[in-house]
């Protein structure tokens, strides 16, 4: 009993002592699925968001030279922890905006029960569910990652253009895999393709051989894997290769993970292609990649570009809004709407000057241009990648 009291007292004391803010700092929340199902993906995503924050601080800080601070919260990829982390960020830390949460379920719960009522803008780098589009969000919810709808359709059209008419589809049974698979299926069939196998699978299983055998029985030689390349998607790919179920493999952005060729060997993946969002101006991506590599990160990890863009956009919006959290959402629309001076990743000092001068700016990010539509979504530009000697190589734009 005593132990508990001491523990609670210590925790509360720590909280009150530390939560008293130094008013010079401006805080934004970085809420991600640190623990839980995407624990492997979250640390690089948070690191890339932190890179944006570091760049802001290294180039004159935010507002009147104040320091921008990212407060890391754990949404554990579920609504329970997501709302808890967001409530703390908004109320205890006093953040002006939130980058995150990472998973769609958390985004929906956090937006509905915390940030929309509290009037805080959020921007998610990886919540891809189409449900987020239809949120009644008073225009405070944005994302730098396109809805699965767009990518699934783009992938379907690209495959048909490349002459693949018959495929089997294996998708991870969550909002990501499901959203992609549905969009892919409807577009593929509408344009004359044939789906010879279509099945969901659960994540983190040891074997998918029975799933693969069933998918292969439809007679397709191409397997579309809509899953994560460092999780069950890798297992699926490995077992499909080992047993020769399929000849060609196609993945979406989740499968464009270095884990695939590191684990399986590039020489075995000559028939594997993956789509992924890219910036239309590739110099933006290069600037980010260079900076993130210098910071010790891996720029090809999943969702790091969208995380970086989300954090950088949020910093720009906060600067534009003058630190007033009620104006951040409106400012977000002004800094990246396709008009004004182009700002590339890391060009904080230039952006700050232009904002101070009252000039329009337009951020072009590592993951795309991020010209938000009326729902706060981005259409996204995609390219198809294959595995080459030095990792993934782009083989063409997708339409």
């Amino acid at each position: 009993m005593k132990l508990f009291q001491t523990a609670i007292a210590a925790a509360l004391l720590g909280a009150t002592a530390l939560a008293a803010p130094a008013h010079a700092d401006v805080k934004i929340g970085l809420i991600g699925g640190v623990t839980g199902p995407i624990a492997a993906m979250a640390p690089p995503m948070i690191a890339s968001a932190q890179l944006a924050i570091d760049q802001v601080n290294a180039n004159g800080g935010i507002l009147d030279g104040q320091k921008l601070i990212g407060v890391v919260g754990d949404s554990a990829c579920n609504p329970q922890n997501g709302t808890d982390a967001a409530t703390k960020a908004v109320n205890i830390e006093g953040v002006v905006a939130i980058v995150g949460p990472h998973c769609s379920g958390s985004v929906l719960a956090v937006a509905n029960s915390v940030t929309v009522p509290a009037g805080i803008a959020i921007i998610t780098p990886s919540g891809t569910s189409p449900e987020i589009t239809s949120l009644d969000d008073k225009d405070t919810v944005f994302r730098t990652v396109p809805s699965d709808d767009y990518q699934g359709r783009a992938l379907a059209r690209t495959l048909l253009d490349r002459g693949t008419k018959k495929v089997a589809v294996a998708y991870l049974n969550n909002d990501y895999g499901k959203g992609l698979a549905e969009a892919f299926k409807s577009e593929f069939e509408a344009n004359g393709g044939e789906i010879a196998g279509y099945a969901a699978h659960e994540g983190e299983k040891a074997s998918y051989r029975s799933n693969l055998a069933e998918l292969a029985s439809g007679g397709a030689d191409t397997l579309v894997i809509l899953d994560y390349g460092d999780g069950s998607g890798l297992t699926l790919l490995r077992q499909a290769l080992e047993n020769g179920f399929f000849e060609n493999f196609v993945g979406a952005d989740g499968m464009k993970s270095d884990a695939t060729f590191k684990e399986l060997g590039a020489e075995n993946l000559t028939t594997f292609v993956a789509s992924s969002p890219v910036g239309e101006k590739s110099d933006a991506l290069e600037m980010f990649s260079k900076a993130f590599t210098e910071a010790g990160g891996d720029p090809s990890a999943i969702f790091v570009t969208t995380s970086y863009d989300a954090a950088f956009l949020m910093a720009l919006a906060v600067e534009k809004a003058g630190g007033d959290k009620t104006k951040v959402a409106a400012a977000m629309r002004e800094i990246s709407n396709g008009t004004g001076e182009t700002i590339l990743p890391g060009e904080w000092a230039k952006a700050k000057e232009l904002i101070a001068a009252g000039k329009a700016i337009d951020y072009k990010g590592a993951a795309g241009d991020h010209n938000f539509d009326e729902k706060g979504d981005v259409p996204g530009a995609y390219a198809l990648f294959k595995v080459g000697a030095n990792g993934f190589e782009m083989i063409g734009e997708m339409k």
Binding site: F4, T35, P79, N91, A109, N174
Partner: protein
Amino acid sequence: MEWIGFANYAVYMAIFICIYALLSLGLNIQWGFTGLFNAGIAGFFAVGAYTSAVLTSPAADGRLGGFDLPFWVGWIGAMVAAALIAWPIGKICLRFRSDYLAIATIGVAEIIRLVIKSEDWLTNSARGITDIPRPLGDLPYTMSQLAYLAIVMAILLVVYLMVERQIASPWGRMMRAIRDNEDAARAMGKDVPYRRLEAFIFGSALMGLGGALFAHFNRSITPEAIDPMVATFLVWIMLILGGSGNNRGAILGVAVVWVIWSVSEIVTDQFPHEYAVKAKYLRIFLIGLMLQLVLRFRPEGLLPEASGERKPVGKTGN
């Protein structure tokens, strides 16, 4: 205006604790008083949450409903649906003892979870249901949080008083008799399987209500919310830590675990970000450590079950 922030956070925690307290009370009826090892809380939580979501959300394409009914219809519906699901499950599974029952219920909860995750026409599968109305949710942030807290507190109070009364009644004594010595209870002429089924259904209905309150609180429900980790095992930890067989203990356990879990993050947030990310795992370790210490030094929980005579409430026996 720092204190408003703290107040908002405290209100949020209180709402959360009230919702989880319903789950914990439901489990207490099943485990604490009747000795049924139900490891499928998430299943009943999910049935309640989704039932209420379907009943109260506005009409949507591609899935059942929504029927746009008032929230209280959804909440009653959630309890009824959870009870109806619990009936056949209890009928089949309650013949198992202790750990076998745990295995069976865990399996049932997984079945429910996978059905919810996979069936488009029923629950919109992996995308979940949004647009669930929240009573008084249109008020400004702080006011709507307070209003929801008042609602869940009132519900918790009513449930608590009813469960207390039920447990103090001859029915409650009978349940404890069944728990402690089934053969003796049977020899006294008690219909043991029927009574166990009663407790199972009663507890499950409360879990369903908890699920419904949770869905309305977040105005959305997705399969991620019914992960066994946060919807089953967390509740078990809360109940064991607080003291099974004691309703106040069940509620206290929820409060202690959630406050430690939630507040500890504020402390870890103060580290630089590369450590803050790692420190998140420390919180999970902390909860595990708490449980170990309680089981080692105070296995009966923080507030143990009252031993000895309870004052009978009713006059007639069953």
